[in-house]
């Protein structure tokens, strides 16, 4: 008897110690993580804000699209932020205002008038505005693996009716109990007994919070005890308002694809596209009702059930005197008021991946998913839309079956900002991002580096230097022989240097590259911005190696910018959760190539589209719209490339198959079409002609490369680095002629 009671005492004491230790463990868990947990906010990624000013190139349809993806509500007269009233080309916009890094753009009502695809006037009241920007579209977030997203709100900013309604429905004795409710548990236990299984929780708000924060969702007795213990501990450490605030920010309110909607503030934006403090009673009740079953009462999927549940909540709110019966009646009669706008959030996986990679160079994943950073990018929704449209349209024509893939990178080359990115033909799909990760030979896209290397040696090479397009054989390592041929399998003899590039002659380029030295060509490619491995082999002159569309973009970015290299940027600024600037990615130039040589290369790249392999672009572009570019095709048409620029945009397009199969396309018959289709719609600025210091133009006989007179046979004007002009000349003297080629017509249309 004594031994038994002794054993029982021992067991009891052991249980007591174990229970005590367990309590200490739970307490430590709560105090160490509760406050931190409250602040786990995924980084938000924003597009560029749309700048509006008189003269800005924005069409009415484009402005309407921008406002739509921003979620501006279409009304007949604007009464509050986030509304737009449109009358053809006149947009009355009540802006939301936005805290930009270092500056606030305040909410205001403005009238934006458009005419001929441009902003003609912006006014606020009677005052004309010089410049304004809309709030930027949030294009995504950097979510943790569990996908939780939330917008934080302070308790004092939560509408009183929402707060009281929440308590009325979920826990009307919240301010009285100690974390759990005997009556609630008793009631739950009774119904569980009756049904023979655990069906009801009877949880207080504190218990629900503990459950969401720390515990797994299964319903067991031990878990329930732990929940109650932790709830009591939580109440001991924190006051009621802190707990309620955490609950309001924590509660799970539905799923949006991979993103889990947490907290009332985010739910308000997600379901109604309205800030929490502007929700009407019906909307508040709808959200409160969703707590019971976020999926079951999801108003998007189950509007009828959601409505019934909302009405139950409204009745309860009225019963507990949170609202008057009249207000409840009015709210019950209201429609659900769901957000009908299309959201573009998380629909640009390719660009977001670029942003993420840039971020990961400096930030840990954990920081990105918890610190509530705001990431301001250069992403341009209007350019992205056009890039996707052009890709889809042209790909449908070229390859309706769909095994052909594509990628595209668009930059604003003056700043080096990546404005749009297409990672594959199915633009909404995450996955293999061909713009960043497809590594392919570049074909003739590398040729400009060969010619640029030559043009940097003006004593030896000019645009008018004859080069030999004749068979060439090079022995490589291991006794292998490399013997390229032209695309047309012809030999063209002596051709002027610019013409060899314009027509993309392989033999002439291979010879030129070998004469210059492969090391010089490799060096030039590095100077132009290609950072990875470049094989120093003869076939490099014709594009050997593995390059992603992004690598090629870096190279052509330097060319388009006139010989100035700058990092390709997707991020402009990073701001912390308190709105303080953390980091800015500044514009920095580095001049890596002779300006004059680059100017000559521009001439040759213009010749590509005017008289060479890229002529097809003018099936899409107006004849007087100046662009420059280069086609690229690899063996058997496995890759079809085009890279080129206008006065404002650089775009690189690639088409090919993921299995590296034959496409039957060349650069001109494939990628060029996507490029030109895009440029014709998206580019607003023709490529200007600006001669740097140290360049002169001369009339040249384009057969011999000799100086000749204006109007002489075969005469054409070419630019030269001063002092490098040909010394030989024809015996023809200048004469009057009315005929002008594309290059001459750049020289003023005053003639």
């Amino acid at each position: 008897m004594f031994r038994t009671s002794h054993l029982l005492l021992k067991l009891f004491l052991t249980a007591l110690v174990a229970g005590g230790l367990f309590l200490i463990y739970l307490d430590a868990k709560i105090t160490s993580t509760f406050i931190d947990k409250m602040w786990e906010i995924p980084a938000k990624v924003y597009a560029r804000p749309l700048e509006l000013f008189a003269g800005a190139r924005v069409g009415a349809e484009e402005l309407a699209y921008e406002l739509e993806v921003l979620g501006y509500r279409k009304v007949t007269a604007t009464r509050g932020p986030g509304q737009v009233a449109r009358n053809r080309d006149r947009f009355e916009i009540y802006t939301r205002g936005f805290d930009f890094p270092g500056e606030r753009e305040s909410a205001r009502r403005v009238l934006v008038e458009l005419s001929g695809g441009k902003v003609s006037r912006i006014s606020a009241g009677s005052k004309t505005l010089d410049l304004m920007r809309l709030d930027p579209v949030q294009i995504g977030g950097i979510y943790p693996s569990h996908g939780e997203d939330r917008v934080l709100v302070k308790l004092e900013d939560v509408p009183q009716t929402l707060r009281n309604g929440l308590l009325a429905v979920e826990d009307h004795r919240f301010y009285e109990h100690m974390g759990f409710s005997f009556t609630g548990i008793a009631r739950a236990a009774f119904s569980n007994l009756r049904s023979g299984q655990v069906v009801a929780g009877g949880s207080t708000i504190t218990q629900q919070l503990v459950k969401n924060y720390y515990l797994t969702p299964e319903r067991t007795f031990v878990r329930k005890i732990t929940e109650v213990l932790m709830a009591v501990l939580l109440e001991l450490h924190y006051d009621k308002d802190q707990i309620l605030e955490s609950y309001i920010n924590e509660i799970y309110l539905g799923q949006d694809g991979p993103r889990a909607v947490h907290g009332f503030a985010l739910a308000a934006r997600h379901y109604f596209d309205t800030p929490l403090d502007q929700l009407n009673l019906s909307q508040q009740a709808l959200l409160i009702g969703m707590i019971k079953g976020p999926s079951l009462y999801n108003p998007v999927r189950n509007p009828e059930r959601a409505r019934e549940r909302r009405d139950v909540v409204l009745a309860e709110m009225s019963k507990r005197e949170v609202i008057s019966p009249e207000h409840a009646k009015i709210a019950t009669a209201m429609p659900l008021g769901l957000n009908s706008q299309r959201s573009i959030r998380d629909s640009f996986p390719a660009y977001l991946e670029l942003v993420r990679r840039q971020l990961r160079l400096e930030y840990r994943d954990e920081d990105l998913t918890t610190l509530g950073l705001s990431i301001f990018t250069a992403f341009d929704p209007l350019l992205q839309r056009q890039a996707e449209r052009s890709t889809t349209t042209v790909m449908e024509q070229l390859n309706p079956k769909g095994e052909l893939e594509s990628a595209m990178v668009v930059t604003r080359f003056d700043s080096g900002e990546v404005a749009a990115l297409v990672g594959g033909r199915r633009v909404r799909y995450a996955g293999f991002n061909r713009a960043l990760d497809a590594r392919r030979p570049a074909g003739s896209l590398l040729k400009p580096a060969v010619y640029l290397t030559a043009l940097e040696r003006p004593r030896q090479y000019t645009l008018a230097t004859p080069v030999q397009d004749t068979p060439v054989k090079v022995s490589g390592p291991g006794g292998q022989e490399w013997e390229p041929s032209n695309f047309d399998h012809k030999v063209h003899g002596d051709v002027l240097l610019y013409s060899a590039l314009a027509n993309s002659y392989n033999l002439a380029t291979a010879r030129l590259g070998m004469d210059l030295g492969l090391d010089a060509v490799v060096d030039m490619l590095h100077r132009l911005g290609i950072e990875g491995y470049i094989p120093e082999v003869p076939a490099l002159t014709l594009g050997a190696g593995e390059y992603s569309p992004m690598d090629i973009t870096a190279m052509y970015q330097t060319i388009a910018a006139g010989g100035f290299r700058m990092p390709l940027r997707s991020i402009r600024d990073i701001v912390d959760a308190n709105g303080s600037p953390l980091k800015r990615y500044p514009l920095e130039y580095e001049r890596t190539v002779s300006l004059q040589a680059m100017h000559l290369l521009h001439f040759a790249l213009r010749a590509v589209v005017r008289e060479g392999t890229g002529r097809g672009v003018y099936r899409y572009l107006p004849a007087d719209f100046e662009v420059a570019g280069k086609t690229g095709t690899t063996n058997d048409g496995r890759d079809s490339w085009f890279a080129g620029f206008s006065g404002d945009l650089l775009a690189v397009t690639w088409l090919g198959r993921d299995d590296n199969g034959v496409t039957g396309l060349t650069g001109s018959t494939g990628a060029l079409k996507v490029w030109a289709h895009f440029m014709a719609q998206a580019s607003h600025r023709s490529l200007g002609y600006r001669m740097p210091d140290g360049i002169q133009t001369q009339w040249i006989d384009d057969q011999s490369g000799y100086l000749t007179g204006k109007g002489c046979p075969n005469a054409r004007m070419l630019p030269f680095i001063t002092g490098s002009e040909p010394r030989q000349s024809t015996n023809c003297s200048a004469r009057q002629t009315g005929i002008k080629d594309w290059f001459q017509s750049l020289f003023g249309r005053e003639h």
């Binding site: 006139g562 075969n714 680095i721 002092g723 000349s729």
Partner: protein, 142 residues
């Protein structure tokens, strides 16, 4: 490293030098230009110089002027980061404005980064018009 920029002080001249040769088309010899290897006896007709005009679709009004003013204020109080951020915004609005490049170059200079000042001015030279503007940019390159 500017290969020729220093040697030729030729501004980006707005003026278009029209061809002054008034030879009639009828007085020209027949079209068989025999190449000759001696230096040219007859200098080729003067070739037109390119006009440096702003593209017709660039913003006519200086929407960015308030930004440049704001940047100057930031520079004056030593906040170069803010000044450059504002100037970059201005440049995005009007990428062809040499005036913005000039202001950027000045700001880089003010914060002691003469290399960035120089290269920014050099890039701005591609867009300058008028002697005074081009010279102001050129001053950073010398």
């Amino acid at each position: 490293m500017s290969y020729f920029a220093g040697t030729i002080a030729r501004g980006c001249v707005l003026l278009l030098l029209l061809s002054s040769s008034a030879c009639s088309i009828y007085s020209a010899p027949a079209s068989k230009p025999a190449p000759v290897s001696k230096p040219p006896v007859v200098a080729p007709a003067p070739v037109p110089q390119p006009p440096v005009t702003r593209p017709p679709d660039s913003p006519s009004t200086k929407a960015w002027q308030p930004l440049v003013d704001k940047a100057r204020q930031a520079t004056a109080r030593g906040d170069y980061e803010q000044a450059l951020a504002v100037l970059e915004r201005a440049q995005r609005i009007d990428p062809d404005s040499a005036e913005i490049y000039l202001e950027m170059a000045r700001t880089h200079q003010a914060r002691g980064d003469s290399a960035q000042a120089r290269v920014t001015a050099e890039r701005g030279m591609l867009y300058c018009s008028g002697r005074s503007q081009c010279d102001a940019l050129r001053a950073f390159i010398r």
